[in-house]
């Protein structure tokens, strides 16, 4: 083996060890796909429920004032089940992959990733809940996209770096949604559904297809 080849392999080894010791790299693309599908199912239920009100508007505030607050309750539960479903299915595929990679699921790198994702999400969640208490619903959908996007960009330093682009996508949709309030459900389905699935497929093709 030439010295040049040896140097190259040494550098690759250094890079790999730096990544493995500081990033949680077993995040599975299938997790993204599963979370995206859950989001689309949830959005479909929500859309159906809103459709049954026979309203001509998607403005949630107007729908609530004409249909009573119970629809709000139902939408809240749809959102909660969607989140739980997405979380469990995403966790499941990443768990499988971490077992295959023989990387501990709850090692230091996972904790660091979780912590950095949870901070913007939890703060954003509290902020949005507080806003809903004040009867402000218009900015909830764009708010979800924006805080989630920030969480992903923040977390990208601690896992596969590509997740940053998923974060940018969420942020772009969220900001656009700020100027098209009332179409929140569509932006929401686009971001949490389509973007997740597209990201998941890309990552699966790039990292996992060949390792099976």
């Amino acid at each position: 083996m030439s010295e040049q080849q040896q140097s190259l392999e040494d550098l690759q080894h250094i890079k790999k060890m730096m990544e493995r010791s500081s990033r949680f790299i077993s995040l599975s693309g299938l997790s993204g796909i599963a979370a995206g599908i859950c989001a689309l199912i949830g959005a479909w239920f929500a859309w159906n429920r809103l459709h049954r009100t026979q309203s001509e508007t998607y403005d949630l505030v107007r729908i609530i004032t004409t249909n009573g607050a119970e629809i709000l309750d139902e939408l809240f539960w749809i959102a909660t089940y969607t989140f739980i479903g997405a979380f469990i299915s995403a966790f499941f595929f990443t768990y499988l992959r971490s077992r295959k990679d023989r990387v501990p699921m709850f090692g230091k790198t996972t904790m660091r990733l979780l912590w950095n994702v949870v901070i913007p999400m939890a703060v954003g969640g509290i902020f949005l809940i507080r806003m809903m208490y004040n009867g402000e619903f218009e900015l909830v959908a764009p708010g979800c996209l924006i805080f989630y996007g920030l969480a992903l960009v923040n977390g990208s330093k601690y896992t596969l770096g590509e997740i940053r682009y998923l974060g940018y996508g969420m942020l772009a949709l969220g900001i656009m949604n700020l100027f098209y309030v009332g179409y929140g459900l569509y932006f929401w389905a686009m971001g949490f559904g389509i973007l997740h699935i597209a990201y998941g497929i890309t990552m699966w093709m790039k990292y996992e297809r060949n390792s099976n």
Partner: protein, 98 residues
């Protein structure tokens, strides 16, 4: 032959290279985490850590978690400098022979 001189003998080993890489990007790493990362035996890891410590590249902190010993390692200023020089020399090596 100044290129070869830039390469540090102490890092001329895959395991020591791995240890240094992990310590460069983490404030500190403990023995078990290193063992898991490099997938080697206790004795093997200990001997490589010893030689890195003797060369002044890393420092050792012995502590406890409950009653279990927890030995963590971190890179020294000198070690960081030497490792960066080693990487630069590797890069030079690749560029120069192109």
């Amino acid at each position: 032959m100044s290129l070869i001189e830039g390469l540090n003998k102490i890092f001329d080993n895959r395991i020591r290279l791995g240890i240094m890489s992990a310590l460069m990007v983490n404030e500190e790493v403990n023995f078990n985490e290193l063992k898991e990362l490099l997938d080697i035996t206790d004795g093997n890891l200990a001997s490589h850590l010893k030689s890195l410590e003797e060369s002044g590249s890393i420092k050792v902190q012995k502590g406890f978690i409950g009653r279990k010993t927890n030995t963590t390692y971190s890179v020294t200023k000198a070690g960081e400098k030497a490792f960066k020089a080693h990487i630069a020399a590797l890069e030079q090596m690749i560029k120069s022979t192109k």
